[in-house]
């Protein structure tokens, strides 16, 4: 993932959740794929829906603040992996 890019949520995704877990399931109608995301990953995706778009660093900082996690090495690495995954899956897109 290129440093400095800002990220925006892909519009038109279909999200659903069930009463027996905190996980979220998303359908991407553009790829036809379904993905399972943790509650934290969904919270990170939600941050990409706000305007103006934020950089990876700003998104991860905001997630740490919202969830109360310490932004240590594991947290940073996991959040970056999640952003990379959401980029590959077409759930977010870079904006200029």
């Amino acid at each position: 993932m290129q440093v400095g890019l800002r990220w925006s949520a892909t519009p038109g995704l279909v999200w659903t959740q069930f009463d027996d877990s905190d996980d979220w399931v998303v359908f991407n109608p553009f790829s036809g794929d379904i993905h399972l995301l943790s509650a934290s990953a969904y919270a990170l995706w939600q941050l990409t829906t706000s305007s103006p778009p934020r950089s990876s660093g700003a998104l991860i900082e905001a997630l740490a603040a919202d969830t109360g996690y310490t932004a240590d090495g594991d947290f940073l690495s996991s959040a970056r992996d999640t952003l990379n995954f959401m980029d590959r899956a077409g759930l977010i897109a870079p904006v200029q």
Partner: protein
């Protein structure tokens, strides 16, 4: 209902076989196909006529191939999607071709690879890869009195959320053949053969009562992901609904073709059912437990 005069049209103008929500137009001059339909489709609505949702023609080979290793060619909706296969598979070819047609073109439904049976108004969906024991479990449940909706397809109506029956002969392979033959001695079976993957196969005629109720949908109740393991004790493990959704979508032929409508149909189904992984080895132990599971959910709160 089927009679000899109707099936005699098989070699000329063909016949229309109504199988659940589909009308299948079949033509073949091969006696094996005639015998197959006469044996395993007795009791299905069959009439002379042209047209239908799917057009399947099983054609014999010509020239020297008529005498040396004869072959059967399949013409499906005017196209030949498969290479010729040995003519002694001709009856079974009809079933396999119908699987191809439904998996490819039944977009009125969300079609998933699964067996479906019903008891007391609740459908049990048995989903699994080949070799997981899906068809064995399905056949044993049917012999135990459950209604057969299908041993190959769960057809979900995306508007109603119900499962549409597609009762057809149940496909059995290898050791399942002997297990089910022992349990269903009075059942009619088609000819046993060896398929192109060198597996023994046979088709079991569906119960007349299931065929008669082919237009009666069922409500989804339970989804089972079975795994047969030699010597295993029967064990049910609850599967979370998100995983039910992902695993059913993975077995769907067309949810992504139907887009958001297809996704929502499977998500709604996952919301309504109880999902379990089932490990088992003993049918006599697992059948009453499945009946109990189904009846418990069917009772009013």
């Amino acid at each position: 209902m089927t009679d000899a005069s109707v099936l005699s049209r098989l070699a000329t103008t063909g016949v229309q076989v109504t199988i659940g929500p589909f009308v299948v137009h079949v033509r073949s001059e091969l006696p094996l196909v005639h015998r197959y339909l006469e044996t395993l489709y007795a009791g299905f609505p069959i009439r002379g006529g042209d047209g239908g949702h799917f057009d399947i023609q099983v054609v014999g080979s010509h020239g020297v191939r008529r005498f040396i290793r004869p072959q059967a060619n399949l013409v499906v909706n005017g196209e030949r999607p498969f290479l010729p296969l040995p003519a002694d598979l001709a009856g079974a070819l009809f079933e396999w071709t119908l699987n191809y047609c439904v998996g490819r073109d039944a977009h009125r439904f969300v079609a998933m690879h699964a067996a479906v049976v019903e008891r007391n108004g609740r459908a049990l969906i048995v989903s699994g890869e080949s070799g997981a024991g899906k068809s064995t479990l399905c056949a044993a449940l049917v012999l135990d009195g459950w209604r057969l909706l299908s041993d190959e397809f769960a057809l979900v109506d995306p508007d109603a959320g119900t499962l549409s029956p597609l009762p057809r002969p149940v496909s059995l392979k290898n050791v399942s053949i002997d297990i089910i033959r022992q349990r269903g001695r009075d059942v009619v079976y088609g000819p046993e053969g060896i398929d192109i993957e060198h597996a023994r196969f046979v088709h079991m005629k569906p119960p007349a009562s299931s065929v008669q109720r082919a237009s009666e949908p069922a409500s989804p109740g339970i989804v089972i992901f079975p795994r047969w393991r030699s010597g295993a004790e029967t064990r049910f493990t609850r599967v979370r609904k998100a995983q039910v959704l992902l695993r059913l979508a993975d077995q769907s032929f067309n949810y992504n073709y139907l887009g958001v409508r297809g996704f929502n149909a499977i998500a709604d189904l996952a919301r309504r059912v109880e999902g379990y992984e089932l490990e088992y080895s003993d049918l006599d132990d697992v059948l009453p437990r499945l009946a109990g599971l189904c009846d418990a959910g069917a009772r009013p709160a």
